[in-house]
């Protein structure tokens, strides 16, 4: 399904794909002149060339960052979506067979109306919004992505969970025929399928939590989690479960995919936190895709004002 605002911006306006190509062009030209030793000097320059070309045709929303969005080409060709393979280029390359329509989402557990909905019915009556969010991967790289989606809180309000529900659990679709990464293989990801994620109810009700159906004003592509995925920008990217087919309300903390596979490395909360390192690498800084120098990672990925109060009194070293 396609959710569009009346005043949809053509993606070419936001992401100057021509500038993206210019960047590559620039690398070629500059490097021919300066030689390989100049590579370090070239990369930061490309970033600047893209910045100057940005046009912002939409007024900045309450939750939008005004940072430069990552080019669409990069947002759609540098992905972690292990159901399509473990390399970053795999999701774009291996998702050709994936069919995002028709789509059914099953709503289960502690909810007034447990039922199966077509995606259209599920989102009916909810107003899609465009939000430009930072996205910080647990692997210490980041992007800025213009998403289109509905606030998760609005959907939850519509579904009416019972007061006993403390958590909401999401599951990705299981389709080994269309998702080669779900087939058994020793060179696989090591995760158990279907991919499971979850949020505490107050996290799910936070206005930042978005159920995304579009990227850059276009319907989301398979590699970005079509037709509907979760986006929680204050958490590491792996919390953003993709191609959701199951939403379950429960009173127990869900066993999430990465937490199950490596509990000492990936917690249930997975809040972006520069002070709590991954056991094997630092989380203090990150590389913004397209930039040369690393930048400091911000607490809650820069969304502390919106989310920090949910974790007051919690030891974030223990609840990582």
């Amino acid at each position: 399904m396609l959710i569009k605002r009346a005043s949809d911006i053509a993606s070419s306006e936001i992401t100057p794909e021509n500038l993206y190509h210019n960047r590559r062009e620039f690398i070629k030209t500059a490097s021919a002149v300066l030689g390989i030793a100049a590579a370090g000097a070239i990369l930061p320059a490309c970033t600047n060339s893209a910045v100057s070309g940005m046009t912002q045709s939409k007024p900045k929303g309450k939750y939008d960052t005004d940072e430069k969005p990552t080019p669409y080409e990069d947002v759609t060709h540098y992905n972690n979506y292990y159901e399509f393979g473990i390399d970053k280029a795999d999701p774009a390359a291996n998702s050709g067979k994936f069919k995002p329509t028709p789509w059914t989402v099953s709503v289960e557990g502690m909810v007034k109306k447990p039922a199966s909905y077509s995606l259209d019915d599920l989102l009916k009556g909810l107003t899609p919004e465009e939000r430009v969010y930072r996205m910080r991967c647990v692997e210490a790289w980041s992007m800025v992505i213009p998403w289109t989606g509905v606030p998760l809180a609005a959907l939850i309000a519509k579904l009416e969970p019972t007061p006993a529900a403390k958590y909401v659990e999401f599951k990705t679709i299981m389709r080994p025929d269309e998702m080669p990464g779900q087939r058994p293989s020793i060179f696989g990801s090591g995760l158990h399928w279907p991919y499971t994620e979850g949020l505490r109810m107050d996290e799910a009700m936070n206005p930042l939590a978005l159920l995304v159906t579009g990227v850059y004003g276009k319907p989301a592509l398979a590699q970005n989690g079509a037709p509907m995925r979760l986006v929680t920008p204050w958490k590491y990217g792996f919390k953003g479960v993709k191609s959701i087919v199951k939403i379950r309300f429960t009173d127990k903390q869900p066993l999430t995919a990465w937490n199950e596979a490596a509990p000492q490395e990936y917690g249930f909360f997975a809040n972006v936190n520069p002070q709590v390192d991954h056991p094997r690498w630092s989380q203090a800084s990150e590389r913004r895709i397209g930039e040369f120098y690393k930048r400091r990672t911000l607490m809650f990925n820069g969304y502390a004002d919106q989310v920090a109060q949910m974790y007051s009194g919690m030891d974030l070293r223990k609840s990582y």
Binding site: R24, I27, K28, S31, A32, I36, A39, G40, L43, T70, P71, E73, D74, H77, Y78, I86, K88, A89, E139, W141, I186, F187, G188, S189, G190, L191, A261, A262, D277, P279, R280, W281, S282, A284, S285, R287, I289, G290, F292, Y293, K294
Partner: protein, 210 residues
């Protein structure tokens, strides 16, 4: 059995072949074929080629003894130096492109509880004395036995390299484990073949197994 009698022709050819992964990488950099995170790509590719060249270098001795291609020894130093070359580029990529000479971050990476960076740095550092003492002059200076002892450090370096790779991936450990298995086989062969051959007189080394 190829004798590589004209090894002075083969040597430049092997040299050029060993440069292909580097040339291919440089091509991809400037043709814009790398991903949205080119520094990560450069890091990954130079790292994996370091491991591959270490394995290739380590397979020379077992191959010449099992298959009987004694002349292969003529390429061993060059292959080892290429392993060092790729390790050096990999190391510089980390120091320069990845960390941009942020020494405080680099030191933190190494001495904190994370062994991932430390194992990689140790693997590289161990190769430095081997590269320096790879000349005939140094073999003479150290004496064959002692030189050989020192150069067995390559197994330690390769082991640390595999460990570094193992710690780098998330849960997809099959590829690092495959490199570990290859290294284990090479080390196993080295030990068993050495047990059979190293006691024999020099001339016997030329004979193929069986």
């Amino acid at each position: 059995m190829p004798k590589f009698n004209r090894w002075w022709i083969f040597k430049p050819a092997v040299f050029v072949v060993c440069l292909v992964p580097m040339a291919w990488l440089v091509w991809d950099i400037f043709a814009g074929n790398l991903s949205a995170n080119p520094i990560e790509d450069i890091r990954n590719r130079t790292g994996i080629w370091t491991l591959r060249f270490l394995m290739i270098t380590l397979s020379v001795t077992p191959l010449r003894r099992i298959i009987g291609w004694s002349s292969l020894i003529r390429f061993r130093r060059m292959l080892g130096l290429f392993a060092f070359f790729y390790a050096f580029v990999h190391f510089i990529t980390y120091i320069w492109l990845d960390q941009a000479f942020a020494w405080d971050e680099i030191v933190k990476d190494m001495i904190s509880k994370r062994p991932f960076i430390l194992s990689g740095v140790a693997s590289f550092v161990l190769l430095i004395p081997l590269a320096i003492t790879s000349t005939k002059k140094w073999i003479g200076r150290l004496g064959g036995k002692r030189w050989q002892m020192i150069h067995r450090l390559i197994y330690l370096s390769a082991g640390l390299g595999v460990l570094h790779y193992y710690w780098r991936v998330k849960l997809d450990i099959a590829r690092p484990l495959a490199y570990g298995a290859v290294l284990a086989v090479l080390l196993g062969l080295r030990v068993t073949v050495a047990a059979v051959y190293d006691r024999r007189p020099v001339g016997a080394h030329r004979a193929p197994l069986q």
